[in-house]
């Protein structure tokens, strides 16, 4: 359980339109909230933007977060927004250094909730070693938003040994999954109206930058591709890989880790864990020669005990993912048509 800074005494207990006006209320909200919690040298300048040096190759990514509910087991929209962008940058072979943070708040949002989210953001940033260096806050009328939307953009220096490129993938490469599937999506579902089943499943939201950098330190350009299977799940990411690389993928269902409780919840909801969202998981496509070593290192990571080699790249059946089922049958895994779960991140 993370520690939360006590909320300072404020003249207001909910967000109103005035907080987005740019006037006194805005500065009170920012000074007591955002700036005091997230302070660092660059942010403290309160300039229109942040000015800094970067070296070498740089990776940049942006993501918006509209998850509902905003609080869930294992996290909230705050750490989701921080980790989500850090992870997109990690998948480029880089460790995020700086983030921008944009809020769209709905009139009526409770200050206590906003405070908790800000604290979670602070904690997630500290844990991952990134700094929020610029930001923006807007308020929309009640009914025109849904409590809080967050956008984050991140920037980071690419690891000097990294060479992540879809064109590096070749037949025989192994596909390694860093942990068990579907925890985030099922956590969100369990909160949804009508689905309030008892569960101890929690979201897997976490930053992946440190483990990715460790793997790159060790295996460098033997790692050909990194992807995080968020919306659309594992099946979607694998399909995208086959289509972008014009190669095929063979995977084996029995090697794909799914926790028993998550599997049970998927059965009950009629969902396929292969298509359910994850927030702290990644797929590595790596040279077959180092796959076993990479797996061992991944399994030593605190969240990697269930990591597994789930399949490989093939020149057969290009642009298709084939899965051998637990009972030995084979089927094509297609892209998800439409959404399986709306607004999971």
């Amino acid at each position: 359980m993370q520690l939360q800074c006590p909320m300072p005494k404020l003249d207001f207990d909910i967000i109103t339109l005035g907080h987005g006006s740019g006037g006194t209320l805005t500065s009170q909200l920012l000074d007591t909230g955002v700036f005091s919690l997230l302070q660092n040298e660059l942010l403290n300048k309160k300039h229109d933007g942040a000015i800094f040096n970067m070296q070498g190759k740089v990776a940049m990514s942006t993501d918006s977060f509209v998850v509902s509910p905003i609080f869930f087991e294992g996290g909230n929209i705050g750490d989701l927004a921080v980790n989500g962008t850090i992870n997109d940058i990690a998948m480029c072979g880089a460790s995020a250094k700086y983030l921008s943070l944009g809020f769209i708040l709905e009139e009526g949002l409770k200050m206590t909730e906003f405070w908790e989210i800000l604290n979670t953001i602070k904690f997630a940033c500290e844990k991952a070693g990134v700094q929020v260096v610029t930001g923006d806050t807007k308020v929309v009328e009640r009914g025109k938003g849904d409590k809080i939307f967050i956008n984050t953009t991140g920037i980071g220096e690419v690891h000097e040994k990294a060479n992540i490129d879809i064109n590096n993938i070749k037949a025989g490469d192994k596909i390694i999954l860093s942990g068990p599937l579907a925890r985030h999506g099922i956590t969100i579902m369990s909160h949804r109206q009508g689905l309030e089943f008892e569960t101890t499943i929690s979201s897997d939201t976490r930053a992946l930058n440190k483990i990715v950098i460790e793997l790159l330190d060790e295996f460098g350009e033997q790692i050909h591709l990194l992807r995080d299977p968020t919306r659309g799940g594992l099946a979607t990411v694998l399909n995208e890989i086959t289509k972008e690389a014009n190669l095929g993928i063979d995977i084996s269902q029995k090697n794909i880790p799914v926790e028993e409780e998550v599997y049970g919840a998927c059965e009950m909801l009629g969902l396929d864990p292969l298509y359910v969202a994850n927030e702290g998981l990644f797929v590595v496509v790596a040279d077959a020669g180092i796959a076993d070593h990479l797996l061992l290192q991944l399994q030593e990571w605190e969240h990697g005990s269930m990591a597994a080699i789930i399949g490989e790249i093939t020149e057969q059946h290009t642009r298709q993912v084939l899965m051998k089922s637990n009972i030995g049958g084979r089927r094509v895994l297609n892209m998800l048509a439409g959404e399986q779960l709306p607004r999971i991140c």
Binding site: G264, G270, D272, L322, I327, G329, R331, L333, N334, G338
Partner: protein
Amino acid sequence: MKYISEFRSPEIVNTLLREIKNTVKGRWNIMEVCGGQTHSLVKNGILNMLPENIQMIHGPGCPVCVTPISLIDRAVHLAMEHNVILCSYGDMIRVPGSGMSLLEAKARGADVRILYSPLEAVKIAKENPGREVVFFAVGFETTAPANALSVIHARKENVNNYFILASHVLVPPAIEEIMNDELNRVDGFLGAGHVCAIMGIYEYYPLVEKYKVPIVITGFEPVDLLEGILMVVKQLESGEAKVENQYARIVSEEGNVKAQEMIYEVFEVTDRLWRGMEVIPMSGYKVKDSYRDFDAEKKFNIHIEEASENPECIAGDIMKGIKKPYECQHFGKKCRPVSPLGAPMVSNEGACAAYYHYSGLAEQLEV
């Protein structure tokens, strides 16, 4: 989960496959009635594990697929024009009506909500006394008890702003319709396990008698399906035609009597139009007159033109097993899950969607 894993055991699956291969001599077309069975056959890759001379034909047991286009239009109309809170099972909201789907209606401002249980809709009605709440009550005999229960609850708790738009369909009349079609090529049936869990088995004896066709009530796991197929093949090879129950761990002779009582409290049997087929006599449920206050059809004046099906969709032939999805010229081209011409491409349980997700496999694997 331990219990279920036995029904997914690769060893037992292999034993059953061997036994099927050793038993089968003729060429047989076996129809799995229920869409859940279709889905499981495809998902587990069972279709390409079976001997070549056993063809599985995918039956009409997908509630989303057989709900007529006019009913979708009525639901859309209620949501768009009458400002109701329209609650539905998730699968239904993507099915195209003649104008739009419920999903599009939602995007255009209608209050459409996806629920897993009609009792949730009653709760929504209680929480929104100023609004009218309609549950889109479709499905086979399986969903009828819960839908009936929601109405019984609403009456008991004086929730007078809750209504159901009901279009239930029944399995036995559909089997009869299939057997009566002159193009029929079904030699045996896997009966729908969950339907029989509610309704029992007794309705199937007259069918077996009349059409001399084996019916084996079957479950949904790989071992269930293969065991059901084996039982049908054994009957066919020995020239028998009887009702057997593979799914006895769930299905009893008389079914779930309490659930049946709930159904008959609220619903009565009526003629029903099936999507892609004709009106099948006595093939569905409608809300009884004694519960008319909860019947959305009676409550709201729904005046809309009766739309006809998209003539390019051959859903009727698909659902009767006369044509396979890939025999449709639009399959995978003009008709795909993201832009379906008809319902079998929409639902997870629809035969076309199941084949779409399996598409290309036969050519690629040459099994």
